[in-house]
């Protein structure tokens, strides 16, 4: 089983490693870069939501907190992104820990609307804390990453950096998932009271889940800021959180590898649909709807975890 999972990751890595051979267009490379960045953020969401069952519809706030922190530090203090990105991630993780507080008392979909509010507060703060964030104008001229005097500005360089980062992070995600930590998170998802009585420290585990979500999203945001070179409050919309969330769902919720694929696919799909002109968003949302209504996730889950679950319990019809 363990084998199977890493195999899928190899397939993914191999596929995307050779893709630029046929895809020589900078624009599409850029779109894939965004796909990778989104996929990284979605790994966090899979841990938080797919495994631990804590719904966060404000996920993009973590992304934004880190992206803005890193950019502001890099622009104002001219620090290297190698310092500012980790600081941004740290900042976002601190907020992750704070956001876990309502989750101690709320569960399920109730939590989700709280996280919507969190996302909204972050967005409004970014708009209104002008001296820092440049408000609605957004931040320009975010410095690129420099390695040994070499400025990484080419889309293709970022492509490989992000691809490797994504795969490494996916391995970390899988390790968490398949460890005792992952089981504890799953127990919380299944039955919080029983989990606590089995000795699981609920608060600690929930905080862990939120912090790791913030970690992955934060890392994604930090990387994004420096390869896109531009940030504005519009990246923090609820719609963007929803996009990340759809990626997690379409990828099969508990499946990290599945969510990588769906993260990339749902990022590039609208771009490839531009020819539909004013119809494209409508058609895209319809496709998402259909994909969600079809029982894909069971298929992907099977592929990832082999036949771990022999029988699936069935609800009564009524």
């Amino acid at each position: 089983m363990q084998k199977l999972k890493s195999n899928w990751l190899w397939v993914l890595l191999a596929f995307f490693a050779v893709l630029p051979v046929v895809l020589t267009n900078n624009y599409y490379i850029y779109v894939f870069n965004r796909g990778f960045a989104n996929a990284i953020a979605v790994i966090g969401l899979v841990i938080l939501f797919g495994i631990a069952g804590q719904i966060s519809l404000g996920h993009v706030a973590f992304f934004a907190l880190s992206a803005y922190t890193s950019s502001i530090l890099a622009i104002r203090l001219e620090w290297s992104p190698f310092i500012t990105i980790p600081l941004g991630v740290l900042f976002s993780c601190i907020w992750g820990a704070l956001l876990s507080i309502p989750s101690f008392k709320l569960s399920g979909p109730f939590l989700s609307i709280s996280t919507v509010a969190f996302g909204e507060v972050v967005r409004l703060l970014v708009i209104n804390l002008e001296p820092l964030t440049n408000g609605p104008y957004g931040l320009y001229n975010i410095p690129p990453v420099v390695i040994g005097g070499f400025r990484i500005v080419k889309e293709l360089h970022w492509y490989y950096i992000l691809l490797v980062a994504m795969c490494l992070l996916a391995v970390l995600g899988l390790r968490i998932k398949n460890s005792y930590i992952g089981r504890a998170l799953a127990a919380i998802r299944e039955d919080e009271i029983a989990a606590e009585i089995m000795g699981i420290n609920i608060r600690r585990m929930k905080t862990f889940a939120f912090v790791s979500a913030a970690f992955f999203a934060g890392l994604s945001g930090g990387l994004y800021a420096h390869f896109a070179g531009y940030l504005s409050p519009e990246i923090i919309t609820g719609e963007q959180s929803f996009n990340l969330f759809s990626m997690a769902i379409v990828g099969g919720q508990e499946s990290i590898i599945g969510s990588l694929w769906s993260g990339i696919a749902l990022t590039i799909a609208p771009e490839y649909m531009r020819f539909l002109q004013e119809y494209y968003i409508m058609i895209f949302s319809l496709i998402v709807l259909l994909v969600v209504l079809l029982p894909w996730d069971t298929l992907i889950e099977k592929a990832e975890s082999g036949s771990k679950r022999e029988v699936k319990a069935v609800e009564y019809r009524s």
């Binding site: 939501f49 719904i55 519809l57 507080i101 309502p102 008392k105 709320l106 399920g108 979909p109 109730f110 989700s112 609307i113 709280s114 919507v116 509010a117 969190f118 909204e120 507060v121 409004l124 703060l125 209104n128 009271i193 609820g238 719609e239 929803f242 969330f245 759809s246 769902i249 919720q253 004013e278 968003i281 409508m282 949302s285 319809l286 998402v288 709807l289 969600v292 209504l293 029982p295 069935v314 609800e315 009564y316 009524s318």
Partner: protein, 296 residues
């Protein structure tokens, strides 16, 4: 600030709050009945606003007639959504979260499809309640629609309360939510029951749409605002509790209006969401929490 201004703002805020409260109520009802968050509720409001525009302004029906047709249409629309999306999800025994994504996708779909029906231009309709303020108390001028909206909201609330507490139908709706299988064993037509609640909640969205169309502008993305505010209202009021939805909506409306004038209109939304954040941290279950005991 003068006292009269304060009261004027208060009434204005209450009527805005009432408009948030109605969709909030609809969301709560659907949550209670089907365990689904209707993130498309704002878009339901939008649809009915445009319907009112078509019927009342383009086709020149009397307002009440337009309202009735809209409300009937919304009922059918709600039932349709239940029969298609919700039912499919349930047959798959899909987790509540899939429903959540489906409904967000649905909302985006409606928002982007409506233009092909009603065009892209924002619309407005003449205020059917008259656009001349009247003197409610000496020195206090209010718009007639403020009073109408608040009144209608209260009536809807009372009717619902009566339905759920005092009628067998209402009890059966709640029973269906709590345990669908067993409700069926009591002889409840559960799928109809859920459709009914969907229809009901769409009617409420329809009423909100009709009223707000008379006060605000009708735009393709007005639903975003209504959706967000309705959810915020529910957080404040306490999710799953119809009373909470109403009170939450009213608090939200009043806070926005008073906050904008006492502090700064610049930070109007910040004030609102800070209020929300405070609720989340210190009273995450809202004012009227609904505890269905999960006995160990």
């Amino acid at each position: 600030m003068e006292f009269t201004t304060f009261v004027q703002l208060l009434i204005g805020g209450l009527s805005i709050g009432a408009l948030y409260a109605l969709p909030a109520l609809g969301i709560t009802l659907i949550w209670n009945a089907a365990g689904v968050f209707n993130f498309a509720n704002g878009e339901f409001v939008m649809i009915s606003s445009f319907m009112i525009y078509t019927l009342y302004l383009s086709m020149k029906l009397p307002f009440v007639g337009a309202l009735l047709i809209t409300v009937c249409f919304m009922f059918l629309f709600g039932v349709l959504i239940e029969k298609t999306i919700v039912n499919t999800l349930r047959r798959q025994n899909a987790p509540a979260i899939k429903a959540l994504v489906s409904f967000i996708a649905l909302s985006i779909f409606i928002r982007n499809a409506a233009r092909f029906v009603w065009g892209t231009a924002p619309r407005t309709i003449e205020n059917p309640f008259g656009s001349k303020p009247f003197e409610l108390l000496p020195g206090i001028f209010v718009m007639p629609h403020s009073i109408w909206i608040i009144g209608i909201c209260v009536v809807v609330m009372l009717l619902l309360l009566a339905l759920f507490k005092a009628t067998k139908l209402g009890i059966a709706m709640r029973a269906t939510t709590q345990n669908r299988t067993v409700a069926a064993l009591m002889g409840v037509n559960t799928s109809w029951m859920v459709s009914l609640v969907f229809g009901l909640s769409s009617i409420i969205a329809g009423i909100a749409g009709a009223l707000s169309g008379a006060v605000f502008f009708i735009t393709l993305d007005m639903g975003i605002m209504f959706g967000t505010k309705a959810f915020a209202a529910n957080i404040i009021g306490g999710f799953g509790n119809p009373m909470g939805a109403i009170v939450g909506g009213l608090i939200l409306g009043v806070t926005e209006t008073l906050g904008a004038s006492f502090i700064s209109s610049m930070y109007k939304d910040v004030i609102t969401f800070t209020l929300l954040l405070l609720f989340l941290l210190f009273k995450p279950k809202g004012l009227f929490k609904l505890d269905i005991v999960d006995k160990v």
